[in-house]
């Protein structure tokens, strides 16, 4: 279904089904979310391109509510008039068997911004050879940087997607978006010692990737990991590089910010609205309407307008993230953060999948930490004893904000200098405590899939060393 005509035919079928649903007097709310996507993916395995994939998929999911807010959902990717209507009827059947969800609602029609730069026709027209070229340039850059480096794994993915949403409260929206990603993971061996995997990744709404930079960065990280040494346990300064911030720390923040978690009391910030939650150097926004922004879109996954939301202003908690239902339940402004992408590592979500296959949860579009004015080098030179954490492995604990992560890529700092990479070791602490000890925000923001974050320096963090004593 690559062509516009095919999409229009699909869209018409969905609209026709919605019209039919309008005749069911027992339905109070009805919504269809439908997409068509096409992706080309090149996989790198051990210095070579291993395989090329192309995936074409389309489908529609119906959320239907009957009086007393009983809600059901069903979807199908088998696209014809009969199967689409069957899915809608299944959703209705399920709704009747469900229990009342107090504040369930769907957004009303509202003007949405037209966010520029979300679709690059060059991605839609790209051939597999273009993706292969990007992959080869990344491999060559990595292995050309230092002959001890192996491009162990990597991906180049070009995706184009059309999204449509219609509900019976007047929302009727469509948008086309594209994305390009290059990822390269490298490793290296020296005197029998194998480094952990080091990677770099680049996301873009346009086809203009710089695979050379990605390959070189991964390789440079590998060469920095040679001759690691264990250290003894200590408390000290920790500089989290953007990559380390982007994963576990951002994960903990999202968990605390989701309106649904605030409502159920599962968020550590449930009773912190308007209060200080971090040092005043921390300012956090979510910008879903950034032109050309990765993660940006004109409307969220239930059709609410995209906006820029101030979340933490100079250390003060200003807003949570909401979809229509959580905003209604809390009497807050809907921040337009309904998302049908997979969040974290929820088993059921992973099994169901994303997009039209699932119901909207809450997620940031592009969580952004305002950059500071110090470089990572300045942070290092000011550190008497500490660790630079480029990458850490392991899942944070939902709710409590506890992190006890393996230092998969970290460097020991003493007397203002990096002494050596660390062998083994963990870092242990609570993100919310760290936010109160922030002693600097870096000037080096980096874009990831759902966030843009710089380095963050904290004090008195607990490092668990692999060296005894």
């Amino acid at each position: 279904m690559n062509s516009l005509e095919d999409w229009q035919a699909f869209s018409d079928l969905v609209h026709k089904t919605m019209t039919k649903l309008g005749r069911f007097s027992e339905i109070s709310l009805a919504e269809s979310f439908f997409t068509n996507s096409e992706s080309t993916e090149v996989t790198i395995r051990n210095s070579q391109i291993f395989t090329q994939n192309k995936r074409v998929d389309s489908g529609v999911g119906f959320r239907i509510a009957v009086p007393h807010n009983r809600v059901g959902f069903a979807c199908t990717n088998i696209v014809n008039e009969r199967t689409i209507l069957e899915a809608a009827q299944q959703a209705l059947g399920i709704a009747k068997a469900s229990a009342e969800l107090g504040n369930f609602c769907m957004p009303f029609k509202r003007k949405v911004p037209s966010v520029k730069g979300l679709c690059d026709p060059r991605i839609i027209e790209a051939r597999v050879e273009d993706a292969v070229d990007v992959a080869e340039r990344a491999i060559n850059a990595a292995e050309g940087f230092d002959k001890r480096v192996i491009a162990k794994d990597g991906r180049v993915i070009f995706t184009s997607q059309r999204v449509g949403i219609e509900n019976n409260q007047g929302v009727d929206l469509e948008e086309q978006r594209t994305e390009a990603v290059v990822y390269l993971g490298g490793g290296g061996e020296q005197e029998g010692e194998v480094t952990s995997s080091c990677y770099d990744i680049q996301f873009s709404r346009t086809i203009d990737l710089t695979p050379e930079a990605v390959g070189e960065s991964a390789a440079q990280q590998v060469t920095q990991m040679f001759n690691p040494k264990p250290v003894k346990s200590f408390q000290g300064t920790v500089i989290f590089a953007p990559q380390a911030v982007s994963y576990q720390i951002v994960e903990v923040l999202i968990d605390a910010l989701q309106g649904s978690n605030v409502l159920s009391g599962k968020s550590a910030w449930s009773d912190k609205a308007g209060q200080n939650v971090a040092q005043d150097s921390l300012t956090l926004i979510d910008d879903a309407s950034l032109p050309h922004g990765v993660g940006a879109r004109s409307f969220d996954d239930e059709g609410s307008a995209s906006q820029k939301t101030m979340i933490v202003d100079k250390g003060n908690l200003q807003s949570f993230l909401h979809n229509a239902t959580s905003a209604e339940a809390m009497g807050s402004e809907n921040t337009g953060n309904a998302s049908r992408s997979i969040q974290g590592f929820d088993l059921a979500d992973m099994i169901i999948g994303q997009g039209y296959r699932t119901t909207p949860a809450i997620a940031p579009a592009n969580l952004t930490v305002h950059p500071g004015n110090k470089s990572q080098e300045e942070f290092i030179s000011e550190t008497s004893k500490g660790v630079l954490v480029t990458s850490m492995a392991g899942f944070p604990q939902a709710g409590s904000g506890m992190i006890s992560a393996q230092l998969s890529q970290a460097f020991f700092i003493e007397g203002g200098e990096v002494k050596h990479p660390m062998k083994g070791g963990m870092i242990s602490g609570v993100v919310f405590d760290w936010l109160q000890t922030i002693s600097g925000i870096g000037d080096d923001p980096k874009q990831f899939q759902n966030c843009t974050v710089p380095s963050i320096r904290v004090e008195d963090a607990k490092i668990v060393g692999a060296s005894r004593g």
Binding site: Q52, I94, S264
Partner: protein, 463 residues
């Protein structure tokens, strides 16, 4: 042969098909039923109907191409085949190494995973399952702040056809129940969770009634409110099967997947060597009854038998797909699995197992002067150099050979090769556990794990 099977067969006979050295076609239909009850209310109740075709081709014996589509008609499948061929050709350059696959026998089979009670329930009856689990957890005490119970049923019909003559149809049903509980007291949040799951039907709940199951998890979360954080540093530990399952999967399983093993480091190039304690025997088998990774055949049509990975500490084999087996000049082991039709198979574990030993729990505890007993899992990660990390949910101090007070969860980390050298006792009973993995694409898997004793680094926040 089903209708999908017939269409796929027609596709193999199409003129376009002649351009490829090997064609593997997978047609699948899948139905998912999900019912999630949160704090007593049905928060999500979904029915997901999916289907489609995945076409994989080997071009010039050098390069793979893969294309998937959600359409079942002949024209769409033929277009997918053309696309796959073009994709495969994109890197089949003259200087590229040959992939010399061993010829596969033309298996013709129709298999159905055993099932006692069909999950053909009315919507109202489905709701009862997570509802009861949720009630059980909420009934455990007043400090239960949040409970989410999720019932999941996956029904699959998979067809595999290849240009080598294979025609395999596999049907299966998988039932799961997940429960996540958070206990809360004066600002302290303590999570606990547990999963049930098997390949089979609703008989899963005969042995583990949802209400009892929920209550047990609720009690665990409440106990943690009174517990102190665990210490940090290296300790002798006893690892409960719930956590040993994760240790097996992350620490040993991942580095023994040939794609990771052959990227250098870890267990790479060490077949035939002593890599761990002599007490350790590890295997992977797609034929473990009720295992979530129960697959008689993999997604390249290879039979999934038992593969001995480590026998009495000696590394015997990696887990292979046909490509890695050809590179290593060995036979494929049936470990090529794709989450669904839409993605290309990867090297995955099916049901990984650690053979039981002859220690009782008491015997394992009494030898430890100061150590920890670790239980419950929070998922983890592994690197190809055999470094791993994963979380435990709760622990007990062991002092002078006795189990003492309960401690909260944290993560452990280490290198699998180093940690498995320190295994000095394995429990008498191995338990089948449900598992899942997110290596590029999702997978459900089984794990067969006993109690084990070893040394490991704990990243706790206590003293």
């Amino acid at each position: 042969m089903s209708l999908i099977g017939e269409t796929l067969e027609r596709c193999l006979e199409a003129e376009t098909a002649e351009d490829a050295d090997l064609i593997m076609l997978r047609g699948q239909s899948r139905t998912l039923t999900v019912c999630e009850v949160k704090n007593g209310k049905v928060e999500r109740f979904s029915r997901v109907n999916l289907g489609g075709i995945g076409v994989r081709v080997l071009m010039d014996n050098k390069s793979w191409g893969f294309c998937s589509t959600n359409s079942f008609d002949f024209e769409s499948i033929e277009t997918a085949l053309k696309n796959a061929i073009a994709l495969g050709k994109a890197t089949s350059k003259p200087n590229r190494k040959q992939i010399s696959l061993e010829h596969s026998k033309a298996t013709v089979a129709k298999v159905k995973a055993p099932l006692k009670k069909k999950p053909d329930l009315e919507a109202q009856e489905i709701v009862q399952i997570p509802q009861q689990a949720c009630d059980g957890a909420r009934g455990a005490g007043a400090n239960i702040a949040d409970v989410k119970a999720t019932y999941l049923c996956i029904e699959d019909d998979r067809n595999f056809l290849s240009s080598e003559g294979a025609k395999i149809q596999q049907e299966s049903t998988r039932i799961m129940l997940f429960i996540d509980v958070v206990a809360k007291q004066s600002g302290l949040l303590c999570p606990a969770s547990e999963n049930l799951g098997h390949t089979g039907g609703l008989e899963l709940f005969d042995e583990a009634p949802p209400q009892t199951f929920g209550r047990e998890v609720g009690i665990k979360a409440l106990d943690l409110l009174k517990a102190r954080p665990p210490p940090s540093g290296k300790f002798p530990v006893i690892i409960h099967p719930t956590l040993c399952a994760t240790l097996l999967h992350e620490a040993i399983g991942h580095p023994l997947e040939a794609d990771l093993a052959m990227s250098g480091g870890g267990f790479g190039n060490r077949v035939g060597e002593q890599v761990s304690s002599r007490l350790v025997t590890i295997y992977d088998s797609g034929l473990v009854p009720r295992g979530l990774g129960y697959f008689p055949y993999d997604d390249e049509g290879v039979e999934c038998k038992r593969t001995d990975l480590i026998t009495q500490g000696i590394l015997k084999s990696f887990m292979h797909d046909r490509t890695s087996a050809a590179t290593a000049k060995t036979a494929p082991t049936g470990n090529a699995h794709a989450w669904d039709y839409s993605v290309e198979p990867l090297i995955r574990q099916t049901n990984i197992g650690l053979k039981a030993g002859d220690f009782s729990e008491e015997e394992m505890v009494e030898d430890i002067k100061e150590g920890l007993y670790l239980e419950g899992t929070f998922g983890g990660q592994a690197d190809s150099n055999a470094d791993f990390t994963f979380g435990f949910q709760n622990a007990r101090w062991i002092r002078n050979g006795k189990l003492m007070e309960t401690l909260r969860g944290a993560n452990v980390a280490g290198n699998a090769i180093e940690v498995f050298k320190t295994v000095d006792a394995i429990g008498k009973h191995a338990v089948l556990r449900p598992g899942a993995c997110g290596k590029f694409q999702f997978a459900v898997q089984g794990r067969i794990a006993p109690l084990i004793r070893c040394e490991i680094m704990v990243g706790g926040m206590g003293g």
